[in-house]
Amino acid sequence: MGKEALSKGMIYLLLSLGAILMLLPFVWMISTSLKASNEVMAMPPIWIPSEWQWENYSRAAEVAPFGKYFINSVIVTILSTIGELLTTILAAYAFSRIHFYGKGIVFAVLLGTMMVPGEVLLIPNFVTISNLGWIDSYEALIVPWVASIFSIFLLRQYFFSVPKELSYAAKVDGCSDFKFLWYVMVPLAKPALITIGLLKVIGSWNAFLWPLIVTNSQEMRTLPVGLSAFTTEAGVKYELLMAASSMVILPMLILFFIMQKYIISGVARTGIKG
């Protein structure tokens, strides 16, 4: 009994330490966003602002057209997530259920591309996009991101765990491949699809480097890129940057709280159990 309580105590202690470590930057961001500019860099660090500068938020919002950035971010996030889900479902089904010539090799090549670091692809992708004349457009922000090998791999494994008899039963019941995919496989793979979708939404919302490279005008900027507006020749206005960052991160935070159950069960189910 005592032993059990002790080990439980240890577990909670470690978990608490981990949680504090994870939360620290977040708390620091919020605290900085409410400081006056002279307190931001103060040593020793000031955790609780002497005077709460709520106007930092309204001042930050005036620095750049965040409304436009927000709409851009939403459009890019939604479209690239829908696109990725569609391509992932179709590709994963093909790789798990349909026999075609060279399937193994094609899949191996696709997996191989996962080993190429994203930074290496920045320039070739940029060249491609500019040859297509897509610089500074939604296409440039969305199209390169509508397929993910990792997602295909994840969903393919999930599809493999669906017994073959189910597809036989569906065939006998009058399903074509496409109907079977739509009416049986997709509903069954819902947890995996939610996981893939959430990862995509988070990744897409936070994407910085690619939008920075392919957009020039303010009209096309997304929120993370917009945050660079606080970096001026005179230095970085940290209190405003942090205020804006807090606002940018808010939708993700809300999403996480709503979908927490799915994120955790989705990751657990697709990662550990078939």
């Binding site: 017994p163 008899e165 189910l166 036989y168 039963a169 569906a170 065939k171 006998v172 019941d173 009058g174 399903c175 074509s176 109907k179 009416y183 049986v184 509903p187 069954l188 819902k190």
Partner: protein
């Protein structure tokens, strides 16, 4: 619907799963495909369903050649060993699924699904998900789903293997009841002889992709066409002994006993020096009045429920016999066992084929078979 298979062959790379199989299944008949694993019975069913396409040969439903038709076009219902219910759909939606694919109006589909659910006695479970049902209930749902679209043929692939013993007995009676109530042609794959013999109109026993015997269950049991059929059916298994031709009759193994049967019951092929004989354990009776066929020493006695199983040694051969527990037998006793002449089966040593006795020619045997069929 009448089904005809014509020289059906299925090859997977180098292995031939089904080899030149021809047969006819009559309308409304329940036929079992029986055999050890890997004998081609499941492959035959998959060929019937259209999920596999044969390497060669034809399949006819009625007069229609359906060999090249896909599964969804053949109008079949299928029940799988692991039920293969859609886990995300309720029982009602599972049963309605084939109708939804046929674009049957929702209201009609629902009525038909409910009707079918009542037939298989799961009307009270319609809102449950498959995961909340017992194995037997899931199997009932699977049967309802297979039957709801009024298929031409019902195919069952080892439908009882995942159920526990008691439920298996109940479900096999249910399958028979439902099949007869609907009047559908059904093909039932199983490796369990008891299942096959108990519910089918006809049994096809397969081995290595070839039908070994195709006849009514009791006929198959009583008149095995070859040694494989004889040894596959029956529990405890049939006794197979070797008899050797001598000047004055057939000698049992290396013992000094001659097989004591009337000459006219022996096989008419008298040019064979060695013959195998088969006797089912339950066909023996203990005797004392000189009409014994076998005499030997009891080496083991086991009482299982209502039966007593003895093992008896004759020379270097051992035979198993189920005898009346009333006899007071002890290990070490000398025991005399009799067998009725018609219960001794003779087989060719090399081919394993049944040898027919002098008295009854092959033609006679065929006729009897036909009569029993009728």
């Amino acid at each position: 619907m009448k089904i005809r298979l014509d020289q059906l062959t299925m090859k997977f790379d180098e292995t031939t799963a089904v080899n030149n199989l021809s047969t006819t299944i009559n309308d409304g008949e329940l036929v079992s495909l029986l055999g050890p694993s890997g004998c081609g019975k499941s492959t035959t069913l998959m060929l019937l369903s259209g999920l596999y396409k044969p390497t060669s040969g034809q399949i006819y439903f009625g007069n229609q050649d359906v060999t090249k038709w896909d599964a969804e076009k053949r109008g079949i219902g299928m029940v799988f060993q692991n039920y293969a219910l859609y886990p995300h759909l309720s029982v009602l939606k599972n049963i309605m699924f084939p109708l939804k694919m046929q674009k049957v109006p929702k209201k009609e589909a629902m009525e038909r699904a409910k009707e079918m659910a009542d037939l298989v006695q799961i009307g009270h479970l319609l809102d449950r998900k498959p995961g909340q049902l017992s194995g037997g209930q899931q199997q009932r749902v699977a049967i309802a789903r297979a039957l709801v679209k009024k298929p031409n043929v019902l195919l069952l692939d080892e439908p009882l293997s995942n159920l526990d013993a008691r439920l298996r007995l109940e479900m096999r009676e249910e399958i028979r009841r439902i099949q007869q109530e609907v009047g559908i042609t059904a093909v039932f794959v199983t490796h369990d002889q008891e299942e096959a013999l108990s519910i089918s109109d006809r049994v096809m026993l397969m081995k290595d992709g070839i039908i070994q015997q195709d006849s009514m269950p009791q006929w198959m049991y009583k008149h095995p066409e070859n040694e494989f059929v004889a040894s596959f059916l029956g529990n405890p298994p049939i006794n197979l002994l070797t008899i050797v031709k001598k000047a004055n009759g057939y000698q049992i193994g290396n013992s000094d006993q001659l097989l004591n049967v009337p000459a006219f019951t022996l096989p008419k092929e008298d040019n064979l020096d060695v013959i195998h004989i088969g006797v089912r354990p339950e066909d023996f009776f203990v005797t004392t009045n000189g009409n014994q066929t076998f005499t030997g020493k009891i080496i083991h006695i086991e009482t299982i429920g209502r039966d007593t199983l003895i093992r008896m040694e004759i020379g270097d051969t051992t035979i198993r016999a189920l005898v009346d527990p009333q006899h007071d037998l002890q290990v070490g006793d000398t025991c005399r066992l009799g067998v009725s002449d018609t219960n001794i089966h003779y087989f060719n040593v090399e081919s394993g084929q049944r040898l027919h006795p002098v008295e009854r020619s092959m033609e006679n045997a065929r006729e009897t078979n036909m009569e029993e069929h009728a």
